[in-house]
């Protein structure tokens, strides 16, 4: 039932109102996502947010309670895993311990009755790609964690799936190796041009690798956007809080029209933004601003630069090498994190000390109004 011809606009993966319930517990709630071909798509969220369950429904290990899963426009909801053109890189790899590296990699091709000579060629090509040609005859347990991860990747990629599913594939590795493999994964993805659906709870990993990120919370998607948008313009309080360090100032929407939205902060001043974030007049909402976008001055040093600002008291100051992290407490008790780059010694010396009053300001394009959750 394929619609359209070759190179059609059918998404590689489409989740059409997918819901998964385990007894009374709703793990995934009415997901609607399209993932275009060749995209590096990340599902990001805390543990228990439903991201892995979603991945398992795409792979065919779980059946959706409601909704449909489509691969290249074809409804595969009722198809078992072995009849889907997806392959999975499992958390902790799930390599077959009784088979050598090359027989692990050959497993999928053998099941599909690919010609023996071709299997040999493709397996050795794939091991070459991940840099494990010399380890072909070894058992998985004789390899390091990073090597096992590469075998898992080769075992999946050798089948040239339409979609590669990765479930926290780097979670078990140490930081340095993780960074290295992030770059490698991204390179391989560009090289093979396969759609990657990547599950992680590591926001930094998501930001550096993805073309697009879906931030999930409690079984629902809070925002789907490219990494920059997710970071710079979080759609909800949850996204703002989950990605990076955010400053959330609570307040009430006092006016909202197409051109501008005004939020009266509990801490005093009113902020204006060009976008509404979907907020309506009279609603409670938050103003979000990133720590590095705030400018901190002593309270008296009030430059009338037309910028919005808010007053507070410095609670602590932490030297971190490239920057100094200041905590400032506002009148309503909200704590703000400010990152001041350590440009020169003089500027650093002029910073207010703990206990001093201080003024925080920002430019209008760096503040956003977010609601508790998507409507």
């Amino acid at each position: 039932m394929r619609q359209g011809g070759e190179g059609s606009a059918e998404p590689s993966v489409r989740l059409d109102g997918v819901t998964k319930r385990f007894g009374d517990f709703t793990a995934v709630r009415d997901l609607k996502v399209d993932i275009p071909r060749g995209q590096f798509f990340t599902m990001l969220g805390p543990s228990g947010c439903g991201k892995t369950t979603t991945l398992r429904m795409v792979a065919g290990f779980e059946e959706p309670t409601e909704g449909r899963v489509l691969l290249d426009g074809e409804d595969v909801t009722d198809r078992p895993a072995f009849r889907r053109s997806t392959n999975t890189v499992f958390q902790n790899y799930a390599l077959f311990p009784h088979l050598s590296v090359e027989r692990n990699v050959a497993f999928g091709l053998q099941r599909r009755k690919v010609d023996k000579a071709e299997i040999r060629r493709r397996v050795s090509d794939e091991l070459e790609r991940v840099g494990l040609a010399a380890e072909a005859k070894r058992r998985p347990a004789q390899l390091s964690g990073g090597q096992q991860q590469r075998v898992a990747l080769a075992r999946a990629l050798v089948n040239r799936p339409a979609v590669l599913l990765l479930d926290e594939p780097l979670g078990a590795l140490d930081l340095k190796l993780r960074k290295q493999l992030q770059v490698e994964l991204k390179r391989i993805q560009r090289e093979v041009g396969i759609t990657f659906v990547y599950v992680t709870h590591d926001q930094e990993e998501a930001l550096t690798m993805s073309d697009r990120i879906a931030v999930m919370n409690r079984g629902a998607i809070e925002q789907v956007a490219d990494p920059e948008a997710v970071y710079e313009r979080p759609a909800t309080t949850f996204v703002a809080g989950f990605i990076g360090v955010s400053n959330l100032m609570p307040g009430e929407v006092v006016s909202a029209n197409g051109a501008a939205t005004e939020l009266r902060l509990d801490a005093g001043p009113t902020v204006r933004t060009a976008e509404s974030g979907g907020a309506r007049r009279g609603e409670r909402a938050h103003a979000v601003v990133r720590p590095e976008k705030l400018v901190l001055r002593p309270a008296g040093d009030f430059a009338d630069d037309g910028r919005a600002s808010v007053e507070g008291q410095v609670e602590s100051s932490l030297y971190m090498g490239t920057a100094t992290q200041m905590m400032v407490r506002l009148a309503d008790g909200t704590r703000m994190t400010v990152l001041v780059p350590n440009v020169d010694v003089d500027a650093r010396r002029r910073l207010p000390s703990p206990g001093d009053p201080a003024r925080l300001s920002w430019s209008d394009e760096n503040i956003h109004i977010v609601r508790e959750a998507m409507a």
Binding site: F61, A94, P97, F107, R111, A156
Partner: protein, 290 residues
């Protein structure tokens, strides 16, 4: 320095009770039996030790039939126990859910009644006028004069029944350890149920198969209760011969020689089996644990 030496010696010191136990209850009786097996004489004239190796050759030639039958019955019983036990262990391990422990208990519960009583009750169940024989005759599976008791069938069935738990428990232990994601990986890589079972589940459960078959085969080959109660002298196994040589005929040298031959043959079979089925499986898990 002294403290470190004492510490280094501790593990060996802990071995002493176990080694002592083995020495007194295993090594010494074994040596005594070896000594006994090389004696000559009768109970009336007394036994003299004079390196009587003919005890071995005579025992082997006189009772080769029972030896062969022992291994045949034990082999059949092991095979049947595997065929019955594997699916059972599989279901308990993968589909047991919250009933797992209850099902495992059910496997062990027969042990609460002694071996002898259980075998005796099988004698009643399979007897000529019993319910089972009657029913089978009515349905026509068993001919008019046909019997269940005192046949190869009843003896092998008895052995299978009695040693089944020894098969199920190690199988369960090895199946239960298999990471379910391993099976998912099999399905994910285009394996159908049959492929995943044959290529993933079965090889990963081989340590359990090896342990289970050994734990069933070894005691089964030396068993005499089942042949005694559920069979006739035509079904007697080597255990029956040893038992009667010791307790009825009082021909200790032959009984001891038979025991040693049984031990040697069993050792040979076990080593051979472990080579064929075991090395791969055992090595695999050994490395996996690292």
């Amino acid at each position: 320095m002294a403290a470190r030496l004492r510490k280094a010696g501790l593990p060996y010191a802990l071995l002493i009770p176990g080694l002592g136990w083995l020495a007194i209850f295993f090594a010494i009786p074994l040596l005594y039996m070896l000594f006994e097996s090389l004696k000559q004489g009768t109970i009336d004239t007394g036994f003299i030790f004079n390196w009587e190796f003919s005890n071995y050759t005579n025992a082997l030639s006189d009772f080769s039939e029972q030896f062969l039958r022992s291994f045949e019955y034990a082999g059949l019983a092991t095979l049947f126990a595997l065929i019955i036990g594997y699916p059972l262990a599989y279901v308990i391990a993968f589909r047991g859910g919250r009933w797992r422990n209850a099902l495992l208990l059910a496997v062990i519960v027969p042990f609460f009644v002694t071996y002898l009583i259980r075998t005796l009750s099988w004698e009643t169940i399979l007897s000529d006028s019993g319910f089972v024989s009657d029913t089978l005759r009515t349905v026509g599976v068993l001919s008019e004069g046909g019997r269940l008791l005192d046949t190869t069938f009843s003896v092998v069935a008895g052995i299978t029944y009695n040693f089944l738990p020894f098969m199920i428990l190690p199988l369960y232990a090895s199946l239960e350890r298999i990471d379910p994601r391993m099976l998912e990986a099999g399905y994910d890589l285009y394996g159908r149920r049959r492929d995943v079972f044959l290529r993933v589940t079965l090889p990963l459960s081989m340590p359990g198969v090896v342990a289970g078959t050994l734990l069933t085969f070894i005691p089964a080959a030396g068993d005499f209760i089942n042949a005694e109660l559920l069979g006739t002298p035509n079904q007697y196994m080597i255990g029956n011969v040893i038992q009667s040589r010791y307790l009825e005929v009082a021909d200790y040298p032959t009984a001891a020689a038979l025991s040693f031959i049984l031990m040697a043959l069993m050792l040979a079979i076990v080593v051979l089996w472990a080579r064929v089925a075991g090395t791969e499986a055992l090595l695999g898990t050994e490395r996996e644990r690292r």
